[in-house]
């Protein structure tokens, strides 16, 4: 009996030691690329993809790199969008990161220290300045954009016609918007679908009075005066019974879902959903720039793109790969596939044509939408975020809803968000 216990203990200990040895290898400097004896460099590229179609599109982009630079091969790895950033941070933690990293402007600050600046290493001609700006932090270009997004006001054309309200258009003011929302709130339907998601909510606050939750040097200022004023106005839409309040803090896509379902007659959503809203809604959808407040119509911009991980053993090749992945050919291809609004000015028309071809009877709506996107880009500001933006998003979901239901004052809620997210910003 005595001996048996000793053996078991020894075995257990051995197991622990084996694991320690395996687990201790994390954080080594180089990963994500390899050079074979023939001199060909293979680079890992990690990207989000939700379907086989999307994966095929990305494979096509990877092939473009080898076409242009025969000595570079790109090995694509994908994860669904919801898991992508969790996977990426785990890979960085374990030192198993890819050379070519896909990045979203809203998450950039959390990864800023892990990305190689691309300034001087890649050609930045031909990109919309706002798209480049969105992926820049501390004056350094950390990734090159492949798309660009702005926020738009989606509206139910049929409901506007039925209620005899003039349709939103460029130059529409906050007062016009409020009036329309009130008029359209009848028979259990609401004029507007509210949100607590960052781009959706903060863009409306920005357009109202220029309120910004983050300072230019990337510090949180949720409790600033303009933020309190803007949130007081936004929450007032709920008090006036002109807007649908999210049913719970977990309803992240509330406004846009209620809009497409026909329960809210207006909602704020990103330019990336133009095609799907036209397809899914059982009514005519119209698009307009966000209602203009004191400083004219404004929206936050977001961009996604590709960067090079620090510690990549072949940074020059990786920068070349990024240039091809975001180059004119790749952009023309993605625009033709209807992937998203291109970051390169020359290719933007191709995206419009794709949407029109997809849905010819909505051609007018699509052209209106793209015009509104371009309008938005003119008054657009990239949304720079803090390192702990995930936590900030969670707090916005938990506390803004209390303001909408009248449970807490805008001032108190914003102070709580500010105070609780001060750590780790």
């Amino acid at each position: 009996m005595h001996m048996r216990r000793g053996v078991l203990l020894a075995l257990g200990l051995a197991g622990v030691m084996v694991t320690t040895a395996c687990g201790g290898g994390g954080g080594t400097g180089t990963s994500g690329g390899a050079r074979d004896t023939g001199g060909t460099v293979t680079l890992d590229w990690e990207m989000w993809a939700g379907s086989e179609d999307e994966k095929a599109q990305l494979d096509h982009l990877a092939a473009l790199v080898t076409q242009k630079h025969p000595a570079i091969k790109v090995n694509l790895r994908t994860a669904p969008f919801n898991d992508y950033f969790t996977k990426l941070q785990t890979e960085f933690a374990a030192g198993k990161q890819p050379c070519v990293v896909s990045m979203q402007s809203l998450r950039l600050s959390a990864y800023a220290d892990l990305l190689e600046p691309l300034d001087g290493k890649a050609d930045v001609q031909g990109f919309a300045p706002a798209a480049l700006q969105a992926l820049k932090l501390g004056g350094k270009q950390l990734a090159l954009p492949y798309d660009l997004a702005s926020m738009l006001l989606y509206y139910n054309k049929d409901a506007f016609t039925k209620a005899g309200v003039a349709e939103p258009k460029s130059g529409w003011t906050v007062a016009d918007f409020e009036q329309a929302a009130k008029k359209l709130s009848t028979g259990g339907k609401a004029g507007f679908g509210m949100s607590f998601a960052d781009l959706h909510t903060l863009s409306m606050l920005l357009s109202y009075n220029g309120a910004q939750p983050v300072t230019p040097d990337v510090k949180l200022q949720f409790d600033s005066r303009p933020m309190v004023d803007a949130l007081t106005w936004y929450a007032g839409l709920a008090t006036a019974k002109a807007a649908l309040v999210p049913a719970s803090s977990s309803d992240v896509g509330w406004g846009e879902t209620q809009f497409v379902n026909g329960n809210a007659m207006m909602a704020v959503d990103g330019s990336w959903n133009i095609g799907s809203a036209l397809k899914d809604a059982k009514f005519a959808v119209g698009f307009a720039p966000l209602p203009a407040g004191s400083g004219g119509s404004k929206t936050y911009l977001a961009a996604s793109g590709f960067g090079v991980a620090k510690g990549c053993p072949y940074p020059a090749e990786a920068a070349q790969a990024v240039s091809v992945l975001t180059g004119p050919d790749a952009q023309a291809y993605l625009a033709g596939q209807g992937r998203s609004f291109p970051s390169r000015t020359d290719q933007q028309a191709a995206y419009e044509e794709f949407l029109v071809k997809q849905d010819p009877k909505n051609a007018e709506a699509v052209r209106g939408a793209i015009a509104s996107v371009k309008d938005g880009l003119a008054g657009g500001v990239p949304l720079f975020t803090t390192k702990n933006w995930d936590s900030v998003g969670k707090l916005m979901a938990q506390y803004l809803i209390r303001v909408y239901t009248g449970d807490q004052s805008p001032q108190d809620a914003l102070a709580t968000i500010q105070q609780q997210s001060a750590r780790g910003q």
Binding site: V18, Q89, A247, S248, S249, S250, A397
Partner: protein, 284 residues
């Protein structure tokens, strides 16, 4: 003396052969991570970046400064305090009722269905139900009712398992004891409290302990239904740990939170084990 030694050694080797995989598995996937979590709880251990030994700082932060941890603790206890009794009472009542029903097996299957369907699917359906009920503010958006809604959904989801356990125990009640009780004139409430409940007390103890442990670890239901809101009205301890680890990327803080939760569960379970001597009767 020499003869018995040989088979004993062979036996020992085969025992070793059988036990090695599970010991290795236990060591690799349970003991090592648990030990590692202790170590991590004493470090500032960001998911990306350098680690630093900070002693008890993580625990001090959780108990003193973290604006959410204490409310998560309170919410977890309120949830457990409501969920466990409701679950046990409902499961017990239905077990006794089913015992006398002609359609016993049908009821058992029906009531067990929620327990075997995935929790996430259940929570999503309930969320749609709560939304359809409407009301302004919605029950899930109102700080006074959000946690109650989570409890209601959880009881519906969880009582089926306990009902099966109780149902088996009720069926196994010794007929001779019950007959003796009825000859002595014990009926109704008296029979239930003094005879039937003591007879199934081992099952009651098992169910109460396991349900309590599960309740203290509640995560999926509030995560899907309310995401911890409104405010922090439905934030639970495991959500707090998840938030620290995967949203704040502070693995040291998450490990410290997990250890506090472990200590609480260990304490509560120990109290139950000590208390059971008073009310659990084993037939032997």
């Amino acid at each position: 003396m020499k003869r018995p030694v040989k088979p004993r050694t062979t036996e020992q080797w085969s025992a070793l052969g059988f036990v090695t995989p599970s010991v290795l598995g236990l060591g690799l996937f349970t003991l090592f991570p648990v030990g590692m979590a202790v170590v991590m709880s004493f470090f500032q251990w960001p998911m990306l970046g350098t680690r630093e030994f900070v002693g008890l700082d993580n625990f001090r932060y959780l108990l003193g400064e973290d604006p959410d941890f204490l409310s998560a603790l309170r919410n977890t206890f309120v949830f457990t305090g409501l969920y466990v009794p409701l679950n046990i009472l409902l499961a017990l009542g239905l077990a006794f009722w089913i015992h006398r029903s002609r359609w016993a097996n049908l009821w058992r299957v029906l009531f067990f269905v929620p327990a075997i369907t995935p929790m996430v699917a259940n929570a999503v359906i309930w969320k749609l139900l709560f939304q359809a009920l409407g009301g302004a503010p919605n029950v899930l958006a109102d700080g006074r009712t959000a946690l109650l809604a989570v409890v209601a959904m959880s009881v519906w989801q969880g009582f089926g398992y306990n009902m099966i356990v109780f149902s088996a125990a009720v069926n196994e009640m010794s007929p001779s004891v019950l007959e003796a009780a009825s000859l002595d004139g014990a009926t109704g409430l008296r029979r239930l409290v003094s005879v039937q409940l003591p007879l199934i007390s081992p099952a009651l103890f098992f169910a109460a302990t396991m349900t309590m442990i599960n309740a203290l670890q509640v995560f999926t239901q509030p995560y899907i239904l309310t995401a911890g809101g409104p405010g922090n009205a439905t934030e639970t301890l495991v959500m707090n740990v998840y938030q620290a680890g995967f949203e704040s990327r502070d693995l040291g803080l998450a490990a410290a939170g997990a250890w506090l939760l472990f200590a609480i569960i260990l304490g509560v379970t120990a109290v139950q084990f000590v208390g059971q001597k008073r009310w659990v009767h084993y037939e032997s």
